[in-house]
């Protein structure tokens, strides 16, 4: 317990640190630089995340370059801020326009938008912010508490355990993906296959590079992410004729009344618990949180018919679950060095650019960064509350910008952003290529998210597989002879088998097609 407090104190110390900053015309001014970065990150993240059709992955990929100038701690704090901002921005869009910015805010559209239509948009946004804040507080403490023991666990892991853990993560991703399981498996295999492009890690031999020198380092993750989630998303949105349902009713007051609070208190707590637990799963369990919370609230409600017609519990629970999951999904990354979803994979990219190798050693080698980032999550949640509520008017106006003006702006930001990472014109051409491929895949009902996750874990998996087999002298049985590895594979196997059972499959479809 005292460890926990000491660690949190170190973290908050790092975040609140005051450093003299040279301000033109004023000379050095003492500023809490990390708080400022967190604020700017949240603000810019919300600004981009509010745009319909731009989810957190695209937002972070686009804004990655603006963090290059700062020291690693500052840069990661800012990126985390961008992430929360984008996440919350997605909820704003869901409530005000009925367009979910990403999978996790799909549920928010159901009751949130109905509330907005009844003139209670302000209350919906307010309760989303309050729920997120509560969830954020709980999740921060949870990360701080789990960080140290999980890191110790990670140090016991050998290559076989790492490989099995990643297999389990990918099985989770398959089970959690929407639509056909076969298609999700194919996307994961394709993702891993793409990750093997480039020089082989042992022999240095070029693999599938077409002899092109810029491919010998492999495909850049940011390029793939921006193509699949930035450009392909634009193409998909262009197919829909514009029918944006921006609420015309007054936003109404922002602070929920006493009745609202009483109704949403328990849903917020339940949502937080569900979201926080699911978020830890490797393989993007965070996606499931809002759905699970919504289903639970609907089951528990005395009058389930209210759901879908502006029930405040249907906003409070899922939004809390959403934010709790967003935050606890940092745990696998920070402790094990395994990114559980695409956003965390971008964090890996950012860490690598700053010369930090994610994994259990970050906590011991770089405690200031580790705990500072965790503390900044709480600060980020406060910022969201401060930024979002007064600025709702601005977001509404932004949402009314027609898409024909919005997408060229997104396009230009993607081009400039990706060019400023490596200064390679080929990177720009490749976001176009991956965008077209991603669009074709979307039109054929393949989901790009599992592909990206496979790509992220691919290299780590191959490395650990080869190392494990080298240690076991080529015996595949090493994966089931080692108890932890066997346990992880067993969980994966059972999960996959269960997902393939017809009755469960129907239930799974129901969760995702909740109307």
């Amino acid at each position: 317990m005292s460890d926990l407090l000491a660690n949190l104190a170190l973290g908050f110390g790092t975040v609140l640190q005051v450093v003299p900053v040279e301000v033109p015309g004023l000379g050095p001014v003492p500023l809490p630089m990390n708080v400022v970065l967190c604020f700017v990150g949240c603000l810019v993240g919300t600004l981009i995340g509010v745009l319909p059709g731009v989810g957190p992955v695209a937002t972070i990929a686009m804004l990655l370059p603006i963090t290059f100038k700062f020291d690693p701690t500052g840069a990661l704090i800012m990126l985390a801020g961008i992430y929360y901002g984008a996440q919350y921005g997605g909820s704003t869009t869901a409530i005000l326009v009925n367009i979910p910015g990403e999978a996790t805010s799909v549920v928010t559209t159901l009751d949130g938008h109905q509330m907005a239509r009844q003139g209670r948009a302000g209350v919906a946004l307010g309760i989303a912010a309050i729920g997120s804040f509560v969830a954020g507080c709980v999740a921060t403490v949870m990360i701080a508490a789990l960080g140290a023991p999980l890191t110790r666990l990670a140090l016991v892991f050998g290559p076989a355990e790492y490989f099995s853990l990643m297999v389990m993560g990918l099985v989770f991703a398959v089970v959690l993906a929407r639509g056909s399981i076969l298609k999700a498996v194919a996307m994961i295999l394709l993702g891993i296959l793409l990750s093997t492009v480039g020089a082989d890690l042992e022999t240095g031999q070029e693999r599938m590079t077409f002899g092109m020198p810029f491919l010998s380092d492999g495909i850049d993750f940011a390029v793939l992410a921006m193509g699949l989630f930035g450009i392909a998303e634009i193409l998909r949105n262009l197919d829909h004729t514009e029918a944006r349902d921006v609420v015309r009713q007054a936003i109404g007051r922002l602070l929920p009344g006493r009745d609202d609070l009483r109704q949403s208190g328990l849903p917020i707590l339940r949502g937080t618990a569900i979201g926080a637990v699911l978020g830890i799963l490797p393989g993007n369990g965070a996606v499931l949180g809002p759905f699970a919370s919504y289903t639970l609230e609907k089951r528990l409600a005395r009058d389930p018919a209210r759901f879908g017609r502006g029930a405040i519990e249907g906003v409070a629970g899922p939004e809390s679950a959403n934010n709790a999951g967003a935050q606890t999904s940092f745990i696998p990354l920070l402790t094990l060095g395994i990114p559980p979803n695409a956003v965390m994979a971008l964090m890996v990219g950012a860490m690598t650019i700053h010369g930090i190798v994610p994994g259990p050693q970050v906590m011991t080698k770089n405690p200031g960064l580790f705990w500072g980032m965790i503390a900044s999550m709480w600060v980020g949640n406060v910022m969201l509350l401060i930024i979002n509520l007064p600025l709702i008017g601005l977001w509404v106006r932004l949402l009314k910008v027609p898409y024909r003006l919005m997408f060229p702006a997104i396009l230009l930001l993607c081009c400039v952003g990706i060019y400023s990472i490596n200064a390679l014109a080929t990177d720009i051409l490749f976001i176009g290529l991956f965008g077209a491929v991603g669009y074709a895949l979307i039109r054929l009902d393949f989901e790009p998210a599992p592909l990206l996750l496979g790509f992220v874990l691919g290299r780590l998996m191959e490395e650990n597989l080869r190392r494990a087999l080298l240690l076991s002298r080529g015996e595949m049985s090493t994966f089931i002879e080692r108890p932890i590895s066997a346990g992880l594979l067993l969980v994966a196997g059972v999960l996959l088998a269960v997902a393939l059972l017809p009755s469960i499959r129907r239930g799974r479809d129901e969760v995702f097609v909740e109307e």
């Binding site: 042992e202 022999t203 349902d245 396009l411 060019y419 720009i428 054929l444």
Partner: protein, 219 residues
């Protein structure tokens, strides 16, 4: 993507979308197998560079075959008709940016390096036409304005190494000006032109986006 949406009842193809998706996967797997054909797979005990990619390609190919097979057996969704306008125009715009931001060698020739001041508006103006509602004047104003913003953000504020001007312009500015000063003045000019274009344009009717009020909840 070929459009063909009339495979509902009879005929051998019952789920065209699955079939095309499956064939696409098989194609990708075949490509990967060809590309990795001359890599040494090694043994399980010491894997060579070819082992993992080839195993993955085989797995992918099997998924593709299963999917394509299900497209023949099980009734599934038809292919939608896809307009090529969006993808083609967006790809053109992206390529325009990539080729003009800095000289790009193409065969024996090189494309002109226009810097952000040229590549930015070019991308926005071309890209804008991916939407059938595009208007040239509006796109031009948008392009100039966004370029001014990007110059200030990425060049002035963040100092990222992006070429801002064509190389031939190096002598155009008075010698004493700093890089940031040049950027600020240029951005100001661009924004000014953009504003003039907007102001000089014909007034459009006010109600453009609001399409609420179609369903029951609206009052």
């Amino acid at each position: 993507m070929p459009a063909g949406s009339d495979h509902h009842g009879g005929g051998p193809i019952r789920g065209p979308r699955s079939l095309v998706g499956g064939l696409l996967l098989v194609g990708l797997a075949a490509l990967a197998l060809i590309l990795t054909a001359d890599l040494n797979p090694g043994t399980l005990r010491s894997m060579g560079p070819g082992m993992v990619p080839r195993a993955l390609a085989i797995g992918l190919g099997l998924c593709g075959l299963l999917l394509a097979g299900s497209g023949l057996v099980r009734r599934g969704q038809a292919l939608d008709r896809v307009s090529l306008r969006g993808p083609v125009v967006i790809l053109l715009a992206v390529a325009a940016f990539a080729l003009t931001i800095r000289p790009f060698p193409l065969g024996g020739l090189a494309t002109p390096g226009l810097g952000l001041i040229g590549a930015g508006p070019l991308t926005v103006v071309i890209g804008g036409f991916a939407s059938p509602e595009a208007r040239l004047r509006e796109n031009l104003a948008l392009g100039l304005g966004l370029t001014a913003f990007a110059m200030l953000l990425f060049g002035d504020l963040l100092n990222l190494p992006i070429p801002m001007f064509p190389e031939a312009w190096a002598d155009l500015f008075p010698a004493g000006w700093s890089q940031d000063g040049r950027l600020r003045v240029t951005a100001g000019l661009l924004a000014g032109v953009a504003a003039a274009l907007v102001l000089a344009g014909p007034r459009r009717a006010a109600a453009r986006v609001d399409v609420a009020g179609r369903s029951e909840g609206a009052r």
